[in-house]
Symmetry: C2
Amino acid sequence: MSQPRYDVLAIGNAIVDVMAPAEDAEIERLGMVRGGMMLVDTDQANALYDAMGPAREISGGSAANTLAGLAALGAKCAFIGQVADDQLGAVFAHDIRASGIAFATPARPGSDGDGPPTARCLIFVSSDGQRTMNTYLGASQFLPAAALDEALIADAAVLYLEGYLWDPEEPRAAMRAAIAAAKGAGRKVAFTLSDGFVIERHGDDFRALIDAGDIDILFANEHELAVLTGKADFHDGMAALAGKLPVLVVTRSEKGAVAVAGGEQAAVAAEPVGHVIDTTGAGDLFAAGFLFGHVRGKALNECLHLGAICAAEVISHYGARPEADLRELVQGMAG
Amino acid sequence: MSQPRYDVLAIGNAIVDVMAPAEDAEIERLGMVRGGMMLVDTDQANALYDAMGPAREISGGSAANTLAGLAALGAKCAFIGQVADDQLGAVFAHDIRASGIAFATPARPGSDGDGPPTARCLIFVSSDGQRTMNTYLGASQFLPAAALDEALIADAAVLYLEGYLWDPEEPRAAMRAAIAAAKGAGRKVAFTLSDGFVIERHGDDFRALIDAGDIDILFANEHELAVLTGKADFHDGMAALAGKLPVLVVTRSEKGAVAVAGGEQAAVAAEPVGHVIDTTGAGDLFAAGFLFGHVRGKALNECLHLGAICAAEVISHYGARPEADLRELVQGMAG
């Protein structure tokens, strides 16, 4: 098996985030669950956008955010995801390429009005930094299996997949094919569970993938762990899952994170943050730091520490992609 | 003359800013003048965008930014400007309306590929907060005189115009017609000179407007004052212009600002700012604060102070529109 050209190849939603501050009362009035992620159709997206304050647009998408963090740390990355050939699609493509990430999935017709536009996530950010997300998937849900490049999959040490993309049928089929290709090439598969509701919809699929040994590294937060395992107690949840996965990483917000790998367990405290501005992307950037450590062969506690540093950076400002120089922030650890 | 419905009606470029941090060496390498504003065509815009790092999109446009500040302070505002019927046009329209500003100029065909798209300004932000702007005017330069609503002009206490929009022919004609309409209705005309190069191109027009008594309130920065008057010395420049204008306001960056009105002169120091992040919109928000004081009948020094507070807020974060609650910041002054 030759040395792979990329550290991480990710398949994920190609989304531009539309972000604005919001009062919690407004979030409730609009029928959203504070801190949640809801899929919305065109009419819902338009109504929520109308209700939103002046916003800013910043490229997002869970796995794409993770890659942006990995690339900022110095990893070689590639992304597969579906945009439309419209202005937001051009914004997404620019931002990911400008981050140094290879991205070659052709844009889908959309600007002529016949196809769905590039995906948007309308994010209402509360004054304590909590984010409430409303995702209009648009073109992103039509990522075809044909967009996969098996040679590319074989050429990346880790294939990284987001659970969010398990909802729509075409990308789900594409991800199943990608897992088979990665496994066939002897590469690792990393998976993030993304969201409790996603697990409620697709938990059987996820548990089957885990039981079949198709997932080498699983990322979850505490709530997702509980939903996937059916165990309300954190330790019970960890115990139920740890033996089935080479690496299990569970983030616990301000309580830090825990990882179990090959019988070894490690934990890290959350990094101190002066002022939490916007928690969008916290899990994505934790995964970035952890995966970076993993592909560089770091010890488990160091991987967790790298994750905590990256997560702390991204919640200190608006937007789910890093702004500070992550290599500088992890100085001495990123070698 | 009845009580006008709006405090300020502005005519300006309808632009979405595309902003990214940049090294000064890179700004030089790309042939830009640090701190300047350059008009770019499609090819130049594409080449500069390709050279730009991961960016964020935030609605901008000089006069539109000023209105956003005015509206945040509690003024009633309306905007006239030209977007295309594309995604960035929808972003601009959303943001200005979500700021509480009336905006009814119909979008121009653009998304079908036949017309120019919504204007963008590619802004490279240096580590000291200096901004270097590259404006692709697109649809904005085709604002037709037909977009003017004379009843609306007559219904605003102040008509506010930006010099930037003097470059393209159609909006220039529209602004001349707007000045005539405002004057005919007994309203005030405020004008911002915008940029030294704009004055080099159109100084004769601007001086003629001033000499004809068409401008009641003129906003300039120190450099623009020198270019317009041909006087290198600040005090000589003020002396040359002050007698020709009911109100003259000159901003001087970290040296604060000076205003002369009816023989009275006042000055204000710059507000202290913890960390200057991005100076985009500093002049626009100074004008917002000053105009707010003016339409509320405040004393000249209070108008300047309001301007300084608003400018300080906008340079403390990315983007040329206010993020903090301006009414709270000027508490006790905004009554």
